[in-house]
């Protein structure tokens, strides 16, 4: 700042504009802090706040948490003991917040065709995505880096991690279920599945059974250890789009083209209840973590919440304007995410069915949604060939993680890569579209030599990219971030066309 832009400090004792208070008052700091918090709550650009407000925040942070604050004390008595009054009640938002991320990760594709299914490993470290391009991809969730790619002979409709995270089951149009070892990408077993393609797979919570739903009207239970058919559950009139185990493993829910949801007893395969309410195909099912509710998403654009105790519809969640393809409960069961052909993800409050947030940004329908194990974010896989990460709070609380496979991205699309080190000293690498804001302090590590970029290494070992870190001065960008300018030090990565993957025959 140039000197002549500054105002001369004027803090000498001077007369001030009288306020509404007639009495002279000594105010408590807590009251001021409460005021400051109110100001901050309504201002997202924290950095833009005056330094005064920032200092108040320090004191607020030092103060014990309290929901009440002392009022100003009138000086009419010399006693300066503060009195307490309740703090303002938290305000509720009548309309849901729409979180747009049209530019975030824009153009950086994960697959070359629609992504039909995604799954997060139980330890939250890996994301599996699969689609009609016949490739299953594993991504590191904390960086968005492609770790491994596995090819099937046909399009993949569904993937699921085993409860211990050691296996991934995949099913698709070639009628078999494949079990992959997550640690090295090896194919453990191929299981005979449904005759007309497998649309849905689910592991039982104990990892012993695998349920399959497919086009041939039946639900099958297979033993994971040897692939034997344990039971065939028959009752659906047509194809089964979705299967899900209850958290205790005693029930299996299935739903499909006949608009109905069926609940089966796993122990003996008997039909416990048929849930009727949807007016179109049922695409997705999810049990609440406490096992009391079942959510179903349907072509009728609704999400229904069912009580498992009596089979009644607890709530109908309406808001999507097109087919609901996927539903998922948050780990604490308080929220439900739904992905739709209308290209949005909606976040619902389970307790009252209130719409909390709408995430917009996909340019194609959302075929699959999943919560992270910590419940902080949602991942979505879309027909637009991208996987996107959405922070549940609506505000970015971590880096923009783009799931970017250069081999799946159009050649004209360019990206930058940067490294940033967290509070534990762990350095992570992220890839974002050119021009994206990157955190201050991040170091651009883009490959600056056109044509020399290395695609992920084929083989069972995780792919790694080790660009040379190069310090790059950064300019402040929108939102307090920094634009990686892609100058002579840090330039965009030319996206290669050629891509290698592990092929299993």
């Amino acid at each position: 700042m140039k000197p002549n832009q500054l105002n001369r400090p004027r803090f000498e004792l001077h007369q001030v504009e009288p306020d509404m208070a007639e009495n002279m008052e000594i105010c408590s700091l807590q009251e001021l802090i409460n005021q400051a918090e109110h100001v901050l709550m309504n201002r997202r650009d924290f950095l833009g706040l005056s330094a005064l407000a920032a200092t108040v925040v320090l004191v607020a942070a030092c103060s014990p948490a309290s929901t009440t604050g002392p009022t100003p004390t009138s000086i009419s008595t010399p006693t300066l003991t503060p009195t307490s009054t309740p703090a303002p009640a938290p305000t509720s938002t009548p309309t849901p917040e729409v979180v747009e991320a049209r530019e975030k990760c824009s153009g950086l594709q994960a697959h070359t065709k629609a992504i039909a299914s995604i799954a997060i490993s139980p330890d939250g470290k890996l994301l599996a995505s699969a689609g009609l391009d016949k490739i299953i991809k594993f991504w590191s969730l904390n960086e968005g880096q492609l770790v491994r790619a596995l090819e099937q002979k046909s399009g993949v409709w569904t993937v699921a991690f085993s409860p211990d995270g050691s296996l991934l089951a995949s099913g698709g149009t070639d009628n078999v279920v494949r079990l992959w070892r997550v640690s090295n990408g090896s194919l453990v077993r191929t299981l005979e599945g449904c005759e007309l393609g497998i649309w849905s797979v689910a592991f039982s919570p104990d990892g012993i059974l695998l349920a399959l739903g497919g086009k041939d009207d039946s639900v099958r239970l297979l033993r994971v250890s040897n692939g034997t058919l344990v039971r065939t559950l028959e009752g659906h009139d047509s194809g089964v789009w979705a299967v899900a185990f209850s958290p205790d493993g005693s029930l299996l829910a299935s739903g499909g083209i006949d608009n109905k949801v069926r609940l089966w007893r796993v122990s003996d395969g008997s039909l416990m209840r048929t849930l009727k309410g949807h007016t179109d195909e049922v695409n997705s099912l999810a049990f609440s973590p406490d096992g009391k509710l079942l959510a179903s998403g349907s072509n009728d654009s609704t999400v229904l919440l069912w009580s498992l105790s009596n089979g009644s519809i607890v709530r109908s969640l309406q808001g999507h304007t097109d087919v609901v393809w996927s539903v998922a409960f948050s780990p604490d069961g308080n929220l439900l995410a739904s992905g739709s052909k209308d290209k949005t993800i909606r976040l619902w409050r389970v307790s009252d069915g209130g719409l909390v947030r709408v995430f917009e940004g996909h340019t194609g329908g959302v075929l699959s949604v999943a919560f992270s194990p910590d419940g902080n974010f949602i991942l979505s896989g879309s027909a637009d060939k991208t996987v996107r990460l959405w922070y549940v709070t609506g505000s970015r609380i971590g880096p923009d993680i783009c799931f970017f496979d250069p081999a799946a991205t159009p050649i004209e699309q360019k990206a930058i890569t940067y490294k940033v080190t967290d509070s534990y000293g762990i350095t992570r690498t992220y890839t974002v579209p050119c021009g994206s804001p990157i955190p201050q302090g991040a170091v651009c590590t883009c490959n600056c030599i056109p044509g020399k970029y290395s695609a992920p290494t084929p083989g069972p070992t995780p792919t790694t990219r080790k660009p040379t870190p190069t310090p790059t001065p950064k300019k402040p960008g929108p939102g307090g971030g920094v634009i990686c300018t892609c100058d002579k030090i840090c330039v965009c990565i030319p996206v290669p066309r050629k891509y290698c993957f592990v092929m299993f025959k």
Partner: protein, 454 residues
């Protein structure tokens, strides 16, 4: 009616209220407009007959000793009426083994200049002599920047060994100190542990930040060796402070950097400063926004507070009442490699800007003593915050005391200081300290007992 408030009172608008601050009485509280206007009337003797409410407020003011003519705390100023320093700082070399992207001295870009032993010896003898004359029990030898002192190792060790001998001979103690980049060999680390009382190490935090901001001459990472130095010091229980420089590229990572340093190291203190717009820092475009610095600093301070480590920015010091920021105004005695006497660490050679104002003496071979430009020295000694008109209505004036004189020179227009970005940081962080005082005093009033009561 005579004014009932004689001490300096500042009023800082704060979210619709006002912080009343009397620095020389060490009093602060938050009040509304009515109270401020009553204080104004008290200050100007306009209260003829107080109402019941006003009487109560007046009673409160008396209670906390805001009123009354006596009771101001003293302001520290020059220790000695004459220039008789007892500590010499040796700018041994312009050479450096790092190429910090913001180096105020542009070390490595300037021609190599290295101090001869004889120059160090004369300076040491001068301060030893002064210590004896002043009846002190010790004198100090410091080694500082312009380059990395440890890259001129022979003169560093020789000069300090000489100082130790001289001290012994005269029945004095000598203390050694140094500002270093910490990029040291194990042998140098051990020598420092054995001989010095403490050092300040410049390290910017997380390895990624350190390596980006403070690379080696060849552009390689420096963090591993610097952290190794720190670990060696910790292992030997050798006291050291850490100095962290923040740029716009590292400001967001400051809290993480401090967490990392406190996890890896056990410094006595951590000093955090925004990058100075001097030397290479003037050209790199990484000047940090004051508000961003303040926010990051406050976040980082919480981490340091939890660890019980003193964490500060040099100009925000509410516990200091002074009219000078540092010794540069008339008490500093630093020697450039050429043997010139500089008042300021940031003027380590005659080629630096404003050297004509801060280099004020040399050793006269013929007379066999140092000779000083009395006019320059007087100017430096007279440079107090009372002389800076810009600061007169600022509530930080007795704390930052006009801040770093050398940096302030760069913000002068027609010889007048007109404020700079450090002022914003200083005010925000000083304000935070005042509010913290209030918080720790029960949340309403901070009023230390009047000095007269001691």
């Amino acid at each position: 009616m005579r004014p009932l408030i004689s001490t300096e009172v500042f009023v800082i608008p704060l979210l619709g209220r006002y912080l009343v601050y009397a620095p020389l009485r060490r009093i602060a509280f938050i009040a509304n407009a009515s109270a401020i206007n009553f204080l104004y009337r008290l200050r100007h003797g306009e209260v003829q007959q107080a109402s019941e409410e006003e009487k109560a407020f007046l009673q409160f003011c008396e209670q906390i000793h805001l009123t009354g003519e006596e009771g101001d705390w003293p302001i520290t100023t020059l220790e000695c009426a004459t220039f008789q320093p007892t500590e010499v700082t040796l700018f041994l070399t312009t050479r450096c083994n790092l190429r910090c992207i913001y180096c105020y001295a542009s070390a490595g870009d300037r021609p190599i200049a290295e101090m001869y032993f004889i120059i160090a010896k004369r300076g040491i003898e001068f301060v030893c002599h002064n210590a004896l004359e002043r009846g002190e029990v010790e004198f100090g030898v410091g080694y500082h920047g312009g380059g990395e002192p440890t890259t001129h190792w022979s003169v560093l060790t020789e000069s300090f060994t000489y100082a130790q001998k001289l001290a012994r001979k005269n029945g004095l103690q000598v203390y050694g100190s140094m500002a270093t980049n910490g990029f040291l060999t194990p042998e140098k680390q051990q020598w420092i542990i054995k001989n010095f009382r403490g050092v300040n190490i410049s390290v910017d935090g997380l390895p990624a930040v350190q390596d980006m901001q403070r690379p080696t001459v060849s552009g390689k990472p420096s963090s591993e060796i610097v952290m190794q130095t720190i670990r060696t010091f910790d292992k030997a229980n050798f006291p050291y402070g850490i100095r962290v420089t923040v740029t716009s590229a590292s400001v967001e990572l400051l809290p993480q950097s401090i967490a990392y340093l406190l996890n890896e190291a056990h410094p006595k203190h951590i000093q955090v400063e925004p990058m100075y717009s001097l030397g290479r820092g003037r050209k790199n475009g990484l000047e940090v926004e004051p508000s961003a610095f303040v926010q990051a600093f406050l976040e980082a301070k919480q981490i340091a507070d939890q660890a019980g480590v003193d964490f500060f920015y040099s100009a925000a010091r509410v516990d200091v009442l002074a009219n000078r920021f540092c010794l540069s105004c008339g008490e500093g005695f630093s020697l450039t490699p050429q043997g010139l006497v500089s008042a300021c660490y940031e003027v380590p050679g005659p080629e630096f800007e404003f050297a004509d104002q801060f280099i004020f003496g040399h050793y006269d071979e013929r007379q066999g003593r140092y000779v000083f430009d009395e006019e320059k020295l007087t100017n430096l000694r007279n440079h107090t915050v009372e002389q800076i008109s810009w600061c007169q209505a600022c509530f930080c004036k007795w704390h930052c005391a006009g801040d770093c004189t050398y940096k302030a020179r760069h913000a002068m227009v027609d010889g007048q200081f007109l404020g700079d970005s450090r002022c914003e940081i200083t005010r925000a962080l000083t304000l935070a300290q005042i509010l913290e005082k209030i918080e720790r005093s029960g949340g309403k009033v901070w009023a230390e007992p009047a000095i007269a009561l001691y």
